[in-house]
Amino acid sequence: MKIESHAGFINQQRIGLQKLKPDIPRITVGLATCGAAVGGTAIFERLKKSIEEQGLDISLIPTGCIGYCREEPIVTITHPGKPLVLLHKVQEEDTDEILRAVKSGSVPFDKALCQIEAWDHLMGYTINYGEGFEEIPLYEEIPFFGRQHKVILRDTGLINPEDIDEFIAVGGYSAAYLALTGMHPDQVLEEVEKSGLRGRGGAGFPAGLKWRITREKESDIKYIICNGDEGDPGAYMNRNEMESDPHMLIEGMILGAYAIGVQEGLIYIRAEYPLAIKRLKHAIEQAREYGILGPNIFGTAFSFDIQIAIGAGAFVCGESTALIASIEGRTGRPHPRPPRLTDSGLWGKPTDLNNVETWCNVPVIIKNGSDWYTTIGAPNNTGTKVFSLVGDVDKVGLVEVPLGTTLSTIVFDVGNGGADGKQVKAVQTGGPSGGCIPARLFDTTVDYESLNAIGTIMGSGGIVVMDEETDMVDIARYFISFATGESCGKCIPCREGLKHLLLLLNRILAGKGTDADLVTLKDLSETIVATSLCGLGQSAPNPVLTTLAYFREEYEELVRS
């Protein structure tokens, strides 16, 4: 049924709230890709079978991922009027014990990680679960959670990503409703500009400015596109955002389309993310049924729809002009800019392209205002950023912190340092375009400018931790091998230059390198940076340049051995 009035919207919220806080116990299982793969699916199926067989009055719901990946599979239990309890490292064999406890109005305490008494979903809605189970620590008391500031991940792992009603219950689509029924597009645009939101794909271009440039172009047709290609190895925050809270992305795009004056949107997703594709397709269908996508959204004069385009496995397609070529059915080879996409993008029309997480920031900005948003983060680096903290770190997971947080806080306070008690040696940020940062520079704040100053980039948000046993020359070689394989071959510096970097690194690693090779390595890297056509080539040598700068002794040792 279409939502075409305020009363209709409120009614749908009420329906959603009944699902989120039913009068019966509710059990959820985290079923994003990782949780499903490490046993979540089996746990869900077993619980479902037992509940059916025993005829239990329990609501069993799949959710996305709450981000504490190391503790997966995660199951939550909520009794009416009691806190939401997170169980961790649940095994299939635990399901009987879980159901026994739930039937008796309790929870399996030995499996409990923490409890949530109330949760502010930031869109004007706080879900009050209740109090009780004093022996279980509070969510805030868990260091991994307590040091985070969840804005983008405010719903993930708590709501059912396949049910639009639950999203609406926690304030979802209320920003879109507010804007479409009560704000001029210029007001929406101004709020995003004032918020200082910068592109979360890594380059940090002001999102509002890009919107304004696209809005001011004269054209019969314009497009907005969401870049969900997330090609950086080691990064998976966009996957989780799409899998765990797909409607948040859709709402962000609706607001962008309204502000810019666009009727057609596309989400470009990599083929490696089948679950994200499935959930987004489902979410788009649901939004259309509710009149939130399609003609006359919320009964207003504004119409907008989204379709999905699926990539086919090419890292370079994260580059904007290559992404467009891919959508148009051509090989993903970049062309020089200008023309920029805002001048001539998809099918030659003005196009605004933003990363998944950039779009996801928009609803909360419009709902709470730019003044609220700018209190989070650092000057000129407002808001939060989600990072995937992976590799040799103790607490692996998705971490959301305000921009301006130090690397040390992320790696040690949230991540609890190296895995298995080993020393952390470095982190790598920004994927194949980023660099390796030694532990002595971990006081660096994570913002666009500070990371650039030490030779790396924010990138899409992958932070790969490397411990004392990591061979940094091998890491440099790994990234150059990756970039060599993914170079589209159009320009010579990237195609040939990277190949020769790889040959040099192979020779050095084989113990056959010379001092002269180290000079060549640096010269060639700098040449590739200066002369490549697109961002892939211009940034590909960064892993070599940063390891040469910060871990030169490892190269020298290999050369002199």
């Binding site: 990782c34 470009y268 379709q307 992976v390 590799g391 998705l398 993914e486």
Partner: protein
């Protein structure tokens, strides 16, 4: 590939945006590779030069022009998997599946066992970095992989240890 299946796939793409890669992706999923005759049919139906389709299927790593084995084993080579030992996973799989030539870095092309039971290949990153190292067999993801644990995974797909 049956012409009717192809017509069905094509009918699902009414917008030109994302159309060609979408259709090729569905052919790949349906046939598990891109048969030459499907490309010919598609070129004729859409009035697209065969050369353009060929350039797409050879540029994008998701497509394969060669039939693959009954089961597809894909090892993730993302950064987190790399630091967690993906190289050892790949090497062990090459030994277990008796593929001495292996998946070379230069070509990055898949290799298939003689009995056509398994195809071994690498992927850039599944984005399942939290459970690294990761491999995928057909559509099933396996996290926290170890070389010692690989025979048990392969056995689920009918692999048996060679007696020699």
């Amino acid at each position: 590939m049956d012409e009717k299946i192809l017509d069905d796939i094509i009918s699902r793409y009414d917008s030109p945006s994302g159309r060609l890669l979408g259709i090729l992706g569905e052919i790949q999923n349906s046939e598990r590779y891109i048969p030459r005759e499907s490309l010919d049919m598609l070129a004729a139906k859409l009035s697209v030069p065969l050369s353009q389709l060929y350039s797409l299927v050879t540029f994008y790593s998701f497509f394969s022009l060669q039939p693959v084995g009954d089961h597809r084993v894909t090892v993730c080579m993302g950064t987190a998997c790399h630091v967690k030992g993906a190289a050892a996973i790949l090497k062990t799989l090459e030994q277990l599946l008796r593929l001495p030539e292996g998946v070379t870095e230069e070509t990055r092309s898949p290799v298939t066992t003689e009995d056509n039971a398994f195809t071994l290949e690498i992927a850039r990153c599944f984005g399942a970095c939290s459970i690294a190292p990761v491999l995928r067999v057909d559509n099933n993801l396996y996290g926290y992989a170890t070389p010692d644990g690989l025979p048990a995974i392969l056995e689920e797909y009918g692999w048996r240890k060679h007696e020699d």
